[in-house]
Symmetry: C2
Subunit: 313 residues, 2 copies
């Protein structure tokens, strides 16, 4: 069933120990949409400038992603410049040119209104809330955010959190949002803010899902679930790993008839799988070209590296 | 089958956000021995001072740990003072009084010479090598080390690494020993130094095992294996978590008739289990009192939080 994602479509200029790229296609909605497109239909709401060319749009349409909600505005596309060093765990932002994104007003095409799954990528929580209230009848809402909104737009963000089925954030964001350093206490406080479930991403260490009483229909909250990440000898570009995780996670969920604890766990694995592909090349290169067979093989690899009873050799 | 462990028996003075304790029983060999004692016979080689009282020895003997190799020397027992803050990921060392440990010369009682499993806890690699060469006929040798030996005693340490079946270290130590920031490249370089297998501990994120060609008889190197850690709402005292991991890991290995990939994986889980108990109370308090039934229940919990197909609620 179709996922509607609202977020950034951007150009990224990136430097990592493996090289550098100028103004390649990026943005949270882009990585998310590409990753999710291997599982279900995806529709994008974003704004781009005049420098967004047919070759960029083709990246989406080749994956059958619906781009009717990508608005063209006068000016330039959002441009992020960043660098990674050391363990590549964290990006150093060197420049953020919001350009047309500064005045982004999400417009929802009529053709998108029957979307059953909504993903609120990392944008101003005021806009997240607006899209969410327009899409009243969705079956599920997941979302992301970042330190900037947590720190300076807390009250707006809290309104969004109350509406979420699943919030996907990283360790630092969970600590910042909760004011707790302990991961379990942090998760409990975040869940108390409203999301039914919480996925905390740990970068190269995988991700942990925390569940509340309302995570699944008719049952107490299951234990947390820890999904591994794949140990990779070469991380070329970590940009978009978290958004690709979210795309694999939510794409798989949306492809399933029902949300059960087992479906949620598998979704965590598919999230890790898509994140692991994303970082193998610069930008969206790998996510454009991966195959479903490769995805399923890597899912099995994730099982193999984490399960006691898997055929070991 | 019996494990011989050589390492420190010490007193620790510890401050954490949950309180403080002065001169409680600690030391790598102590935590290791207690954790391993739930799986197999354990014999300790260490040196203590005149302040090591019958009540301290009773902590070992109550768990049927053989203390004949704990030598009494004139002077005081090794005393470590440390504090933890924030995420409790790393201790701040406030004092290291080596005392009788400074002139530690491991002496191996005749009764220990038939030990089939040897654990070289974190001590001077010269001493590790000496014990190892005395115990020529052991079936398996595992060991630990720390930044101090990696940095300033590299050549001595390398001699020990060549003799190891399994080296257990943490992320920082793996990076320091290899000079690589990427976890897979670091593991490959460490394996090239000699250990047949490598276990890298990630603190609250669990641990990863990396295997070489010689990890298991008759087969290529299996993929890495990622064991989870248990998300804990309360970490009272992280001191000894890594040594307890090693004790659970190696204790389980030594209790099994054969080293197979599945046995290794389960050992990783038992390592995590014992580490998770260790940090629930100050010092060795929890490891003195845990039961085998609690250990096995927690093993199942580790499976539940990491396996796709486990009964989820």
């Amino acid at each position: 069933m179709a996922i509607l994602v609202v977020g950034s479509v951007a150009f990224d200029s990136i430097e990592t120990p493996h090289g550098k790229r100028a103004k390649i296609l990026g943005g949270a909605a882009t990585h998310f949409a590409l990753a999710a497109s291997y599982f279900t239909d995806v529709r994008v709401i974003a704004v781009v400038g005049e420098d967004f060319l047919p070759e960029h749009e083709a990246v989406f349409t080749k994956r059958k992603i619906d781009t009717r909600g990508i608005e063209r505005a006068a000016g330039k596309t959002f441009h992020w410049t960043g660098a990674y060093a050391g363990t590549l765990a964290e990006a150093q932002t060197l420049g953020t040119d919001l350009n047309v994104f500064e005045k982004f007003e999400p417009k929802i095409p009529t053709a998108y209104e029957d979307s059953e799954y909504l993903f609120l990528a990392n944008i101003d929580p005021v806009l997240q809330a607006r899209v969410r209230s327009h899409m009243k009848n969705v079956r599920m809402v997941c979302g992301d955010t970042m330190n900037y909104w947590i720190k300076d737009h807390t009250e707006n963000l809290k309104k969004v959190l109350r509406e979420l089925d699943v919030l996907l954030i990283n360790d630092t964001e969970a600590r910042m949002l909760s004011g707790e350093t302990n991961a379990v206490l942090a998760a409990n406080k975040v869940l108390a803010l409203g999301p039914k479930s919480l996925v905390v991403k740990h970068g190269e260490y995988g991700a942990t899902a925390f569940f509340g009483e309302r995570s699944f229909a008719g049952g107490p909250a299951p234990r947390p679930f820890r999904a591994p990440a794949l140990p990779l000898a070469e991380v070329v570009d970590p940009t978009g790993a978290g958004d690709s995780f979210a795309g694999g996670f939510y794409g798989y969920l949306a492809s399933q008839p029902e949300l059960t604890p087992t479906v949620f766990r598998k979704a965590m694995f598919y999230g890790g799988v898509m994140g692991s592909f994303a970082v193998e090349r610069f930008g969206t290169e790998r996510l454009q070209a991966v195959t479903r067979a490769e995805i399923d093989a890597r899912f099995e690899l994730f099982r193999e590296i984490s399960h006691l009873d898997h055929a070991a050799v």
